[in-house]
Amino acid sequence: MIRPLRRLHERLHRFMAVPALLLFAFFFVVPLVRGVAISLTDWTGLTPSYHYVGLRNFIDFFQDRRALHALQVTLVFGLISPALLCVAGLLYALLLDNRLMGRGFVRTFVYMPAIISPLIMGYVWLLLLNSENGALPQLLHLLHLDSWYRDWLGSPRDALWVIIIVNLWQFVGYAMIIFLAGLQGIPAEVTEAARIDGAGYWQTVCRVTIPLLVPAIRINVVTNLIGSLAVFDVIAALTDGGPGYATESMSLYIMRASFNGHTGYATAVAVLMFVVILIPVSVALRLMKKADGDS
């Protein structure tokens, strides 16, 4: 090869991050900066005119009852879901970690709901829960358990729980797989040693297994926190934020504000949503760092 080209080829490895960073800068950072700029204006999104209003949008958020309610919905869903996902995922993983025949198939099936788009999953559950001709009311009827039936999607309090359950249903496989990966990394000798020392099954799990799973827990908690706090599709499909505004999350609130003539304000709320995601994730990471340090 020609001298200069050869030299370039030798140094090429230093630039291997450049394509990724270029894409990231162009398609993410640039719009983000402009987005943050919009959040400081009163732009309606409908006319080209706008005025700089500083932090006015942010202040308005905290004075709007509906906005604060959206924050509450986001926090309830966004904190409960990851917790449930981790617990269920761990239990599933512990189950499938045993030498059982066919566990490969089961593992495959349990993850499959995660392949469906959350929007479609929402519609599937509509078909299940529809008070007129849904599968669940019909099932309860067949089992003579009609009294158990309630119009969950029509009740402000129950509707959010339905969404939590649907989300759990869909993504428990993902949490499970991460825990399975973590469990595989724990040498069998370690757990056996604990058993030999007389520890029961659940004791072993709590004292030995879980501390060794902290990296897996960290991934699950962070990923599910981010995903659950930013949830949109499944709520839009199941309840559209209803009844009324009972299940309106921040993401839904932002979408609506953005297209109803308050684009500047909506972008500011999106910046706030970033903070809402940042805080729990940072807290969780810090707590787990301590746990990692202790063990």
Binding site: T44, L46, T47, E132, D151, G242, G244, F259, N260
Partner: protein, 458 residues
């Protein structure tokens, strides 16, 4: 798997991606709109003269359509048009939420050449983004009723007309003919009579729902507000005056939160319906689809909807025996109410460099045969004299209703930040007991209503 093969494959994918990205550029060359939204009038004049020779070189028009039922029909018309006008192709973009997509596009300087069957926010008409059809007497002379031209005039500047209508849509009270006949119920003109009818149904046919609400789709509830309390304002002030008052948010005329006023009466009516079991218990979680199913299959006696629902009702039950009455008036003294409003709008972008071609396509769309087929498609009568077709099995019912009802030629206007979807959500809250008294509902309604006005609109 050899490593070389893997890296070659990756490189191929990468370059394919980049090349395909380059290919995208060509598509857009033919129909960019002027990037500046605040171009002066001289710009648009220049644009129209520049496209004077537009029929010579190949032209690509972009058409944004917001109505799924019309997608195939539009594709058919596009094909027919292109056969007669080689050199002009029209590319249809269907969007479920066409209104929202339109906002994003225009905010980025990307106005579609033609916008059909979707709501264009008033703010865009105010910015003169769309062509004024006022001088197009060839079209206006063909209207069945000259007053239609007044109805489609721009709300802020009535001398301008930014869209062309195609059909008239009606809204009313569907009823199950056999059950109503059996129970000997007469057409209810007032709300009291309506309530009495519901009571009769509940007593004599307990397994039927007297009035079925599809509240999960909040717009169905929002429309109730437009028909009943807002429609009542139209009856009191006259359609044009009411429109002006709504746009200006003239509190003295609208009296939205007046004690015992229209909104309160509406809330009370709904609460009564709910308390007495005259509406379905799952009113806030039943969908529009459930609602149509209920009236089609004899599960409900009454349903308040528009004529657009007829096609789906018949799809669910081809033998559905339904009739169509006007909606009972809410306030004492109100006549039964119907909306008979020009619908199916088509607008053309004012600043498009292909405006002439776009107008040619619109002219084709408005031609009698095309309009006839559209009228049949949407089960709605055409606005054009020469396009009458047999548009619905209920056309007889409607002819009768038109004689007795107050027919609003316009939908009651709602602020862009509190449209019928959003209004419907407030009614959903009412249905799940968020408001203890009708007065509370009225207050919340007024607050939301006021907040819905953007500074741009005022």
């Amino acid at each position: 798997m050899s490593r070389k093969w893997l890296s070659l494959a990756c490189a191929a994918v990468l370059s394919a991606g980049l090349l395909a990205g380059c290919g995208g550029n060509k598509e857009d060359q033919d129909s960019p709109s002027a990037a500046s939204l605040s171009a002066s009038p001289s710009d648009s004049a220049a644009a129209s003269s520049a496209s004077g020779g537009g029929s010579q070189k190949p032209v690509k028009l972009s058409l944004l359509n917001g109505t799924v039922e019309a997608v195939d029909w539009l594709n058919d018309q596009i094909k027919a048009f292109s056969e007669r006008n080689p050199g002009i192709t029209v590319e249809q973009e269907f969007q479920k939420t066409a209104s929202d997509v339109l906002k994003v596009k225009i905010a980025s300087g990307d106005t579609p050449d033609i916008v059909a069957l979707a709501q264009v926010p008033q703010e865009f008409y105010d910015q003169d983004l769309f062509h004024d059809f006022s001088g197009d007497s060839a079209i206006w002379d063909r209207l069945t009723d000259p007053s239609i031209m007044r109805t489609v005039a721009d709300t802020k500047r009535p001398e301008k007309h930014f869209y062309l209508p195609m059909t008239v849509s009606y809204t009313g009270l569907y009823y199950d003919k056999s059950v109503i006949a059996e129970l000997g119920i007469q057409r209810p003109d007032t709300w009291e009579q309506f309530v009495a009818a519901l009571q009769t149904v509940k007593q004599k046919k307990p397994e039927m729902t007297p009035l079925y609400l599809g509240g999960k789709d909040s717009w169905t509830l929002g429309q109730l507000v437009q028909y009943l309390p807002l429609g009542s304002i139209q009856q009191a002030l006259g359609v044009e005056e009411a429109n002006k008052a709504l746009i200006a948010n003239d509190a003295s005329k609208l009296e939205l939160d007046k004690a015992g006023g229209r909104i309160e009466t509406f809330a009370k009516a709904i609460m009564d319906l709910q308390r007495n079991g005259w509406i379905n218990k799952n009113g806030s979680s039943a969908s529009y689809d459930n609602q149509l199913d209920a009236i089609a299959n004899g599960k409900a006696a009454f349903v308040i909807q528009g004529m657009w629902a007829l096609a789906d009702i018949l799809k669910k039950n081809p033998n559905a025996d339904v009739g169509f009455w006007p909606i009972p008036g809410l306030m004492p003294g109100d006549k039964p109410y119907m909306i008979g409003s020009p619908d199916g709008s088509v607008s053309v972008s004012e600043k498009s460099p292909n405006k002439e071609a776009a107008l040619k396509f619109v002219e084709f769309l408005m031609s009698p045969d095309v309009q006839k087929s559209y009228s049949k498609l949407r089960n709605a009568p055409s606005v054009f004299k020469d396009a009458s077709a047999d548009w619905s099995i209920l056309s007889g019912d409607i002819a009768d209703d038109l004689k007795t009802a107050f027919v609003a030629s316009r939908w009651p206007w709602t602020p862009s930040g509190y449209n019928s979807d959003a209004i419907g959500r407030t009614v959903q809250e009412l249905l799940v007991g968020a408001y203890r008294t009708p007065a509370e509902f009225a207050k919340a309604f007024k607050d939301n209503w006021d907040k819905g006005y953007t500074s741009a609109a005022q």
